[in-house]
Symmetry: C3
Subunit: 221 residues, 3 copies
Amino acid sequence: MSASIPSGLQLLLTALDLTGTFVFALSGAVAAAKRGLDVFGILVLSIVAATTGGITRDVLIGAIPPVTLVDWRYLAISILAGILTFYWLPVIDRLRSPVQLFDAAGLAMFAVSGAHKALAYGLEPPMAALLGMLTGIGGGMARDIMLTEIPGVLRAELYAVAALAGAGVVAFGDSLGLPPTATTLTGLVICLGLRLGSIYLGWHLPKARPSRSTRVDDNPK
Amino acid sequence: MSASIPSGLQLLLTALDLTGTFVFALSGAVAAAKRGLDVFGILVLSIVAATTGGITRDVLIGAIPPVTLVDWRYLAISILAGILTFYWLPVIDRLRSPVQLFDAAGLAMFAVSGAHKALAYGLEPPMAALLGMLTGIGGGMARDIMLTEIPGVLRAELYAVAALAGAGVVAFGDSLGLPPTATTLTGLVICLGLRLGSIYLGWHLPKARPSRSTRVDDNPK
Amino acid sequence: MSASIPSGLQLLLTALDLTGTFVFALSGAVAAAKRGLDVFGILVLSIVAATTGGITRDVLIGAIPPVTLVDWRYLAISILAGILTFYWLPVIDRLRSPVQLFDAAGLAMFAVSGAHKALAYGLEPPMAALLGMLTGIGGGMARDIMLTEIPGVLRAELYAVAALAGAGVVAFGDSLGLPPTATTLTGLVICLGLRLGSIYLGWHLPKARPSRSTRVDDNPK
């Protein structure tokens, strides 16, 4: 990241990035294992889920080569999560909806760290919020598309909107001159709160009122 | 875009780009609404359909960060199209095959503006034509893949070929020294004409003659 | 590629790259033809399967614009493969599982040439191995995702692991100072050997032991 980030915040962001990598990798590994893929399929999906969001962000802001390809810790953590899942799937699976839980935590961490990195590369606050959202949702989207499922981001209640809210707190807090550590923690709590509220309390957004002539399956596969 | 584009043409290209963004966003929003997604799923798919082609183009020619991430109008227009669709889906849906119509208009606009931008960044005419085609087909491809459908570009009659023809007129007209506004309009008409001819008049390309041993579903999912 | 590659090796790598392009394009064209797509759908899938791996590699290492967009031979070879498939599908199809065979050859060629190019752009050996693997698996992944199939890389026995082994031989051979032509050929043989052993002899990796409460279809579409 750019030198414009103070070192204490930088430490927090790196910790968030690496933890987010771990939980997203778990979400990819569990999804792959449940579909009956072999150990390497599990590792590929761990890596894809954990790194796609950050790689996309880095390509779009011009941080080439992406940090995931120069800092070996991202890859090592993704592989570790895949191996843990391979050996302890029954344990991990005892958690209620583990894919969703890991995914929610990764979403929050990547959204706020992505927004910070975009700001550090000179993007305007609204675009930094958008890029934070994209960093958060990219990994889960890639995971679902590779398993030929409609990405959860399109179906799940309060998914992208939670990422956007968390990233937005960071981006607009920055332009208001608020202390970045405070906005980072607030962004994390808001994103995670919205997402968990949606999973456990059923919070949701309204759907479009279908016209009489429109059936849900009007575009058959 | 580069300073090598005269300002009158630049104005035309920006107008095409923004209108293309609007119609592609409508195509994404209508497709999402018909699959029963909520308002944020609709917005995500509006943005994906409207911006993927241009972002891919900009990444490939080195225009970083992509114009979609620095010019707020692209995002605002995509969101506007999503909101309009959310509230007026029954009205929009009364048009015959609205996804296809909006998609055809966006295809033509993005193909010619994409070819111009690739030329301005120094690509050779054949590659500028290809990149114009990619700009045109990228958004629809991303939209269909996210809804786990085989992209229309692979199924639809005269889809990518229409985009290639429109972008090719711009690219080769440029190397022949023809006036760019004229080639732009000609490219638009040719692309749109081929695509509408295919939708309404059934124009199509031949299919491969299947061997006796080959069934269409030979590669089961 | 960078000037740090000696011209004899460069010739070998370009030959591998172009041959890999041809066989991957065949794999895309055959897959498209078997799904009943028209001639342009076949061409699009030829180009996608042949170029996605290399374009992704070039974007990630900062080789912009990607070689596929400036060297016309890649595109010409992809289109040639598509046209050959269109006219001679019954002949090509008489080979046993032609998609898999072409895919295996392309995988090996792209994995070693991708690792070399990443080294030339200054990446560390472990990351060059990873990027070689990504170059190898990218085209097949894009082909399968566009046909809404779960990518073979996630299902097939010894697929990504074969690419990683081949690319790893090149990357670590380089840091040990071994002659690059020898490591290139060794990497090719190892990747192709692992993949063909998997296709014809059933070599495979273990699967995760499912928990009692986990059904394969636990994540319904």
